[in-house]
Symmetry: C2
Subunit: 419 residues, 2 copies
Amino acid sequence: MALIVHKYGGTSMGSTERIRNVAKRVAKWVRAGHQLVVVPSAMSGDTNRLLGLAKEISDRASPRELDMLASTGEQVSVALLCIALQAEGLEAVSYAGWQVPIKTDSSFGKARIESIDDARVRADLAAGKVVVITGFQGVDPNGHITTLGRGGSDTSAVAIAAAMKADECLIYTDVDGVYTTDPRVVPEARRLHSISFEEMLEMASLGSKVLQIRSVEFAGKYRVPLRVLSSFTPWDIDLDVEAASGTLISFEEDEKMEQAVVSGIAFNRDEAKITVVGVPDTPGIAYQILGKVAEANIDVDVIIQNVSHDGKTDFSFTVHRNDYARTMELLETVVVPTLGAQQVVGDPKICKVSIVGIGMRSHVGIASTMFRCLAEESINIQMITTSEIKTSVVIDEKYMELAVRALHKAFGLEEARDA
Amino acid sequence: MALIVHKYGGTSMGSTERIRNVAKRVAKWVRAGHQLVVVPSAMSGDTNRLLGLAKEISDRASPRELDMLASTGEQVSVALLCIALQAEGLEAVSYAGWQVPIKTDSSFGKARIESIDDARVRADLAAGKVVVITGFQGVDPNGHITTLGRGGSDTSAVAIAAAMKADECLIYTDVDGVYTTDPRVVPEARRLHSISFEEMLEMASLGSKVLQIRSVEFAGKYRVPLRVLSSFTPWDIDLDVEAASGTLISFEEDEKMEQAVVSGIAFNRDEAKITVVGVPDTPGIAYQILGKVAEANIDVDVIIQNVSHDGKTDFSFTVHRNDYARTMELLETVVVPTLGAQQVVGDPKICKVSIVGIGMRSHVGIASTMFRCLAEESINIQMITTSEIKTSVVIDEKYMELAVRALHKAFGLEEARDA
């Protein structure tokens, strides 16, 4: 008997028929002797419908009331799933975040989980019940409902699994695992049977949308074994087959893993590049430029500062493409006159391509293999950043698919490594 | 400065535009210097939509999960109303029942309010905020969400007004007050400027749908001044005019009230009549018949047992028309063979017409005026029941409108009495 947390995304909960299928799948696990805690997202479209109503009324809604509003979507889901589980002949009970309670800070709309009291849930499990808990939400020290931000249900599920020391947290979603890269770009992309936590963290932060990055961080911090798998396989497939499907995010760095130097190729075309040209190379210059950007609540990703010539340097960074126009305007009207930079140039048509692999720690020459591969395709590299287990390059957007396919091949990712 | 509770029904909250209008009306009261607590129902249609989803999954849903589900409708309403109030420049905060808390027993689906802690609400009011509280719901001693049953938001509003000793509880609805009878049946029906609590209680229990009977009982128990008024007058009408509009449900039995012998005519065509013919007139016979009916969870309204002839009697009662077929079947298969009754006869095409008036306590001959009036119209009376302030007759359904119009005229209800 194991304690298992299942998380189902909004698409998996998208209709009453799909909810019945989720219940049948959960019932299969319960009948196999496991204790189940289930964390469903809101039915797909529901959160947007609710926020749309708020928008019709005002675009200055307080975050506190938006959380009060949006949190109802998950409450509907847990109740409906319990009703479906009861129809399967199981005992089931649903809890909203405040009922567990899942305690968070008071950052409405992007709250962080501070603690989870699992006494109530444990008592229900011991009494033979399935416990269904709202994702995405919690309660702050003043008894206000908070939400964790988009995709927060992944984080809720992992946090509950961590608090309860669950044997595994299964994230059921509309893809069947983590791939070496996006199969829509590289048809030869291969599903990974396992990936290390650190690699998954890089993949998530680099634009792979399979898991919310915060849920991966949480899993890493509390060493929660995490599996991403499909909710669209028939609910009645053999449990052992299902339990070994998808991708395991693992904390055991076994030898097999060490053998794979690069695990995946991530890419992201949501960014735009901005360069402040000819800025005086004085202490604090990065802060003076990026401080203004941060004040405007604009997130910066890649940052590059080159060595200076004649006391002047070029300072480049990337922002989300949606923030591009605003950032350019800000820099032109504020930073250039103040800092005496020559000009600000930008390019929204770029993309970031990254190779990720825990093996890069112990292997030299990986980055140069990447650069050579891109050179052979005549792709110019505009920016480079590296970390211990990834190397990212910024290139012209139009070369994205070409670069991803070439790198996928260069690192032999189409060949099975851990089957 | 007064402390006022506003309650808005589902139709008044039926769209984001209507919610904005509610906010403007509330803002008018706040700007006139009053402290406001607002209790909105779920947006019209929302509760049915949610229960419809549950029904698609299973018709054996547990009441506990149905309450978890249905309570979200009101949570959506309070959040949206707060957003609209904030857009009006007011400070506003919403609370779900558990946040106040509004404590109830554990009768899911028809919970009773046991206590309301008003400390949090008072602190917000003192800080200049409008407080918006979910109707229809509370929290039980184990921290489960409960609902009060259909129309429970009226009860929530009155209970909150009682707990806070509010100066008045205004029930905004889609009619503009309590009428002498239904204006759709008698065009001359007149809106009452005031009605006593006891009369309102009888009117509500006899089928006048303006207020939920439990809310009237609550108002009576805690002497909450209650006003029923329209939410469809323009929000910007003069506050003093609005405050004197509708119908006041009053606890002051002033002389003016005593003068009106009959205040209104109520009617109800949702009932069906059943007679067990020739049942032995032995002790406990009523219990033996109605006990079976109660076990089947069927509510009985009027009950008549006549004097017996030859040791046999006829026993008649009315049930809701929806329960008619089920009750007939139950009696024929269970009661007749067991009790030795001759037969069971029934008639679903009946209606109940009642005259209600606190003046009936001190005036004789009111019932005979009623019977003479019906006789003059050649309407046969099938059953009669009386209480201190009402007399009800059961008649053939086809005479309902005729009876109501004739009685309305016979008691001079078209003439203004308290204008």
